[in-house]
Amino acid sequence: MNNVFVYCETENRTVAEVSQELLTKGRKLADELGVELHAVVAGTDIRNHVEDQILPYGVDKLFVFDGPGLFPYTSAPHTDILVTLFREEQPQICLMGATVIGRDLGPRVSSSLTSGLTADCTQLEIGPYDDSKTGQHYDQLLYQIRPAFGGNIVATIVNPDHRPQMATVRSGVMQKAIYEGSARHETVYPDVTKYVSDEAYVVKVLDRHVEAAKHNLKGASIVVAGGYGVGSKEGFDMLFQLARELHGEVGASRAAVDAGWVDNDRQVGQTGVTVHPKVYIACGISGQIQHIAGMQDAGIIISINTDPDAPINRIADYVITGSVEEVVPKLIKYYKQNSK
């Protein structure tokens, strides 16, 4: 009862990295609350394949639901599993990845249980809360912290009276780490038919194509990112060239993605990828909070902007006041000249 749960998603028999990141975060929250960390995974033919990918992150108890029709993911069977399991187990917190699956499943589960859900959290903490209306005091609630309103503000959300407190978190926001402490590592294999009715399997996946990621933006040590100030799709060619020279990857702000200059899987920020590079070169990016949330941990931040007062300049180590089309070719030129 009252434990911390993490829903682990899988692609075939591989557990998603974001789920492992959340297990590490969930372990910390559970330790702080003095409760156990439990994990739940559902798929087809996953028994004896997924346990080793989940237990080492400090899991006390793992629920493995293995049965036909649970992979590929469809909404209803996975919802039934979580809703029934949560009614039995009464967790206080449930975390899931802010992936396509997590953002399909989370709201469905929260609606069934009438529990609150906060999407795309960038920080999770435990803390007290006083309800000013009812005068009630709560000792240890989950602070679900996220940029809101297009990234112009940061809101701390709490769910005082409804359980579980649910949150989704994007891949890369938390860091995964094998747990050094001791955990119980119990694994159970519940009977899926007791949780999912036959009618739940009505949505059929006819056809499915998943490709390996085309780039490794999330793990890149150098990121060259472009914003609205890049000005055009052609402008991004220059950024790709600089990234190639530096053995880095190209990222983008939401404005550049919305303008159609670059694929949306390169978006850096709260609703995109979170990066932790050694060097982040922000080209023509003004720096809304929603963007900064995805790159503020970069080792060195270089901002190239015609506006000396661009918000991103406040967190930059180097501010180059100039246009992208003027500065980027010079960076390429002098890098080529001096790097040999």
Binding site: T74, S75, G116, V202, R208, A255, G322
Partner: protein
């Protein structure tokens, strides 16, 4: 087969390209600096609905929105593009709703509309980016859901075939009607307003949008289609306790206008000398290279 289609649409502040005047000095949002627009992905959803209407003669498309009286504009924008009708949920009791209370209100309205075959909305709204309302409406109505849709390929024999985006790829799914579909921004863009329809509906308003002294107010008696449906909590037989702030399990503890820890930065110009010095420095310190 003809389809009864409901499009979920939201009027949102345009948070995408906010300038420096978006926040007031006291840290609150300067709403006046942000124009109210049709949530972009809801337009993608409307386009899918209008295409279904064309493919299935006799179908109807209705726009369902919740908001203050001025959100009647969302229904007009839908009518200008080819929707047949609309409903505005407006009531002080709806105010302050989180996604769960919002989905409850929308689900009650959809029950009142009755016999809906397909509910289509945008994947998410740009003022919250939560993507929760679609699935929550589906759950409250006990319907299937297909999120992240790129295209509704066909509806045949009571089943919808839909191509959808998934992490790292695409899949095609088949779901029985009735179904709730949420549509991605990468789906086909919405058609523009039709000039004839704009002329026909530009005076269409919800009763609460009217001042009563419009020079054209006599038209409202002659042309019933100029009066848009406006529903309160009581009209949709909703439980006030489950609406608005009181129906919202999530509470906002605090809102901050975050100031990131300013760093001591070095300012350079774009001159050749400055850039070469920077590159050499980064190379010497093995930060790049």
């Amino acid at each position: 087969m003809s389809l009864n289609i409901v499009v979920l649409a939201k009027q949102v502040p345009d948070t995408r390209n906010v300038g420096k005047d978006a926040m007031k000095e006291d840290g609150t949002i300067n709403r006046a600096a942000l124009p109210a627009i049709f949530n972009p992905e809801d337009l993608n959803a409307l386009e899918q609905a209008l295409r279904l209407k064309e493919q299935h003669p006799g179908s109807t498309v209705g726009i369902l929105t919740m908001g203050p009286p001025r959100a009647g504009e969302i229904i007009r924008q839908g009518l200008y593009r080819g929707a047949d009708t609309g409903w505005l949920l407006t009531d002080r009791l709806f105010a302050g709703a989180d996604t769960l209370a919002t989905s409850y209100a929308l689900a009650m309205a959809i029950k009142k509309i009755g016999h809906v075959d397909i509910v289509i909305g945008g994947r998410q709204a740009i003022d919250g980016d939560t993507a929760q309302v679609g699935p929550q409406v589906a759950q409250k109505l006990g319907l299937n859901q297909v999120t992240y849709a790129e295209e509704i390929l066909k509806i045949e024999n009571g089943r919808a075939t839909i191509r959808r985006h998934i992490d790292g790829g695409v899949e095609t799914v088949e779901a029985p009607l009735p179904v709730v579909v949420t549509v991605n921004g990468s789906a086909a863009p919405c058609r523009p307003c039709n000039a004839k329809l704009v002329m026909q509906y530009k005076r269409a308003t919800c009763p609460m949008e009217r001042t009563g002294d419009e020079p054209w107010s006599a038209l409202y008696d002659q042309r019933p289609y100029l009066t848009l449906n406006q529903w309160s909590v009581a009209d949709v037989e909703a439980d006030p306790e489950q609406c608005g702030l009181s129906g919202s399990p999530t509470k906002v503890k605090s809102i901050q206008n975050i100031v990131f820890q300013a760093k001591e930065s070095r300012t350079l110009t774009g001159s050749d000398a400055d850039i070469e010095e920077l590159v050499t420095e980064l190379l010497n310190e093995k930060i790049i290279g």
